[in-house]
């Protein structure tokens, strides 16, 4: 069963990963990806909005899809919503498996789908002004690799 969470408050990725690794001692390997708000580039804050009736159910469906596609012992998906500052964690995905290739592919796939298909809208604050971020072409190319 995947552990899928949508959080409106900060979380500690190291503590989450530590607990996840300890929960799957038979896994042998854990691949993970941590996305954090980039420092520099003039962005003062980042906000992710979600639409509650869609966002978490779709994240859970993604978790089921990933677990069906690869042979995993465990899957962790944590995504922030709300206002974040540079350096704050946004998203953490971790896949535990006996097989290194499965763990890497599952984490990679989950990230691509969270980036381009999840129900989040992002805006950035620079020079005190908030501006909505448009989808990136790269994200559509990333997800097309899996089809």
């Amino acid at each position: 069963m995947a552990d899928v969470r949508l959080l409106t408050e900060p979380f500690d990725p190291a503590a989450e990963l530590s607990a996840f690794a300890a929960a799957y001692p038979e896994a042998g390997g854990i691949a993970s990806f941590l996305g954090q708000v980039r420092a520099g580039g003039g962005v003062e804050a980042l906000e992710l909005r979600h639409y509650a009736p869609l966002t978490l159910p779709a994240m859970r469906a993604l978790g089921v899809q990933v677990q069906g596609r690869w042979d995993l012992d465990g899957l962790l998906v944590i995504h922030r919503s709300g206002v974040m500052n540079p350096g704050d964690p946004i998203v953490l995905v971790a896949a535990a498996s006996r097989h290194r290739r499965d763990a890497f592919a599952a984490a990679d796939f989950a990230m691509d789908h969270l980036k381009s298909e999840s129900w989040f809208w992002k805006r950035e604050q620079a020079n005190g002004q908030w501006r909505w971020v448009e989808p990136r072409e790269q994200d559509f190319e990333d997800i097309a690799r899996w089809q």
């Binding site: 639409y51 999840s118 809208w121 992002k122 971020v133």
Partner: protein
């Protein structure tokens, strides 16, 4: 009871607010919704909402063909522009 409107992402900027309510006398189809929006909001918002990039959810469920929806008292309609998550 009214019908709740939710504007996500940059539609919030176009609408000037994240939520609104409408209380039509009778349930509205897609054409009626666009007309109601046209009375209260800019044509930029109406055009964006009517465009193929904006998806619609009614009562939390994504709609395959927005031209076929009807909303009335107690319903919630969400206007969902392209996502830009993570």
């Amino acid at each position: 009871m009214a019908t709740k409107l939710i504007f996500l992402g940059r539609l919030e900027d176009l609408a000037g607010r994240a939520e609104d309510e409408m209380s039509p006398k009778a349930p509205l189809d897609w054409k009626g919704i666009l007309e109601w929006l046209g009375d209260w909001y800019s044509s930029d918002l109406v055009d964006a909402v009517d465009g193929h990039r904006v998806k619609i959810a009614v009562n939390g469920a994504l709609v395959a063909d927005k031209s076929g929806i009807v909303v009335g008292d107690g319903d919630e309609i969400a206007f969902l522009p392209p996502v830009s998550g993570g």
